[in-house]
Symmetry: C2
Subunit: 339 residues, 2 copies
């Protein structure tokens, strides 16, 4: 079984995206948001069958842990109330996708974060999504300001309400920023990767997992710059008087495989224990073209994992074992299907 831990609904029906624009326009003009539009099951089915489902089948994967479009979370827009409405609309739409394709998708929710706002609303929405919609985790934005970086580090108590709820529900978070409103940071070329690197270094500096020993965080895009600079991070942990990374953070932190070329995946598999790597592609996502050097899509990361020098047991962990361990509610759902 091959589980892609990192897929966003980037192909959501136009009416959904148009509603968001109307919602933000209404906010700016001080009006209440319009009613959410009717979207038919056929529209949703078509948007999935022609895209994610087709590609999953072509590439040979079985399931995707599926969440709302990351770049559209845009927590820096509007206010907490706007983010609550938007997160609920996005999560309900994911639940409909899962309802239509229950064997292929399991939901992960967007949180109603807003710069400076407390995280109680996020904890409540996570609880709703897990207990009522059957979701298996959440995406946590370490920079809801969208490239202004005004929130405290993830190890700050500001974030504890969401970590407490995640612990209570036994679900992980993927640490994933959204769009950048800072012109220095290209969203998918700089902001995403920087956020991954930044979050990992915050975890080294702090001691979050002493307070939350069961907390699990997936750092996407292959861990940002971290595996490439693994010696730097081992050395910095040592200079900061921290235990080795294997004890200090790697019992709780996982990297996905959204690294879009063979040498990158080879490095990831050489440096990071296979128990900490989850298969992911982020398709249909940031990089949609075909690599002229291979003739295949850049984001067809299964090809790289298949070609990597890995023992079969390690590959199996990357493809499904780790995902079932990190997302126990996914494991439970699969067991209920006899898988």
């Amino acid at each position: 079984m091959i589980i892609d831990c990192h897929g966003h609904y980037t192909t959501a029906p136009a009416a959904h995206t148009e509603w968001r624009a109307s919602q933000l326009a209404a906010f700016r003009e001080g009006r209440p948001a319009p009613g959410y539009p009717a979207i038919s099951d056929d529209e949703i089915r078509e948007s999935i069958e022609q895209n994610q489902l087709r590609l999953l089948r072509e590439r040979g994967a079985d399931m995707t842990i599926f969440s709302p479009r990351a770049s559209a979370m845009a927590h820096h827009e509007g206010d907490l109330r706007v983010s609550e409405q938007w997160a609920r609309a996005c999560n309900d739409l994911i639940a409909r996708v899962v309802g239509l394709f229950p064997e292929t998708f399991i939901g992960v929710c967007q949180l109603p974060q807003s710069p400076g706002a407390p995280l109680d609303a996020s904890a409540a929405e996570l609880e709703r999504c897990v207990t009522e919609l059957g979701f298996a985790g959440c995406n946590l934005n370490p920079d809801p300001s969208g490239g202004r970086w005004t929130s405290p580090p993830l190890t700050d108590r500001y974030w504890y309400p969401i970590f407490e709820k995640m612990t209570e529900l036994d679900v992980p978070a993927m640490v994933h920023v959204s769009a950048s409103c800072n012109p220095v940071f290209h969203a998918t070329g700089a902001h995403y990767i920087n956020a991954d690197t930044t979050a990992f270094m915050q975890l080294i500096q702090g001691d979050l997992f002493a307070d939350f020993p069961g907390l699990r965080l997936v750092i996407p895009h292959g861990g940002g710059a971290v595996p490439y600079h693994w010696g730097r991070y081992r050395g910095l942990a040592d200079m900061l008087g921290k235990p080795p990374l294997s004890e200090h953070v790697m019992r709780n932190v996982f990297f996905d495989t959204c690294v879009y070329h063979q040498p990158g995946i080879d490095l990831l598999c050489r440096v990071i224990d296979t128990g900490n790597i989850l298969f992911g592609s982020e398709m249909v996502g940031a990089v949609r073209g075909i690599d002229p050097e291979t003739g295949h899509h850049f984001d067809d990361t299964k090809r790289y994992i298949d070609a990597a020098a890995l023992p079969e047991a390690g590959r199996a962990k990357i493809y499904s074992g780790n995902a079932r361990r990190v997302y126990p509610r996914l494991d439970q759902a699969l067991r209920e299907r006899g898988l």
Copy 2:
């Protein structure tokens, strides 16, 4: 010959660092800065002989392209006038090091940047350092706000005065941030690496080298996250309708080898053309400890280059040929010594 393109004077005499503290205190209190202290040649000699020079000899390198301590540039402190005084003091001290050890060091200058201030003062200081002090290049801070990221991208015309002066003098810049005053960004674990990644993506998005075809930029720390995510950057360039990276940016952009473990260096050498890699260690710098896995210093990057699967011609380019090409004033100085 082995040239380390990336060394900072992190071991400068205490009186120099104390003067900076006094200068900033005077600024805060509205007083003029105190006079710069007397520092003897012996103090400078000792600070170098026991540190950089000893390590260069132990590790088997010959020269270092040497600049003021990057984390102490702190362009976010004070104002333009304060940065001008501080840059001049730092650069004059580097000139003294070079004067005492002319066979081992060549200078690269700190620029008097200040958030929002025009770059004319930086162009003037660069000219002074090159024409009067014999320096070979400069360090350019893409975020003088120190982690607030308030400046425009490097491709913006805001930066053109320094690029024009660099072109006129035929000297390169290393794109290097300083300390972070934003608590989310650990300086050497996040801010440095993020800045490298961010700068590279800005260069992909823009078309800077159409305006400055001879401009040369060294992106340190192995290019941040870029080589690890080379497929992502090739794919994003394609999505943005840009030419292949080899044409669009890699005629003008170079990465150093400040990657502190063998797998990272192996990836760098596998992915990036050897014509674009300059040997660097940033010693004595960010990561000072000994790797328990190897028994050698993390930042002894020569060991990794020596062990990398490279043709000898490629290794020679990394060790000296590229540095002499990117820093023609260094090449000229070496030729004058018959090297």
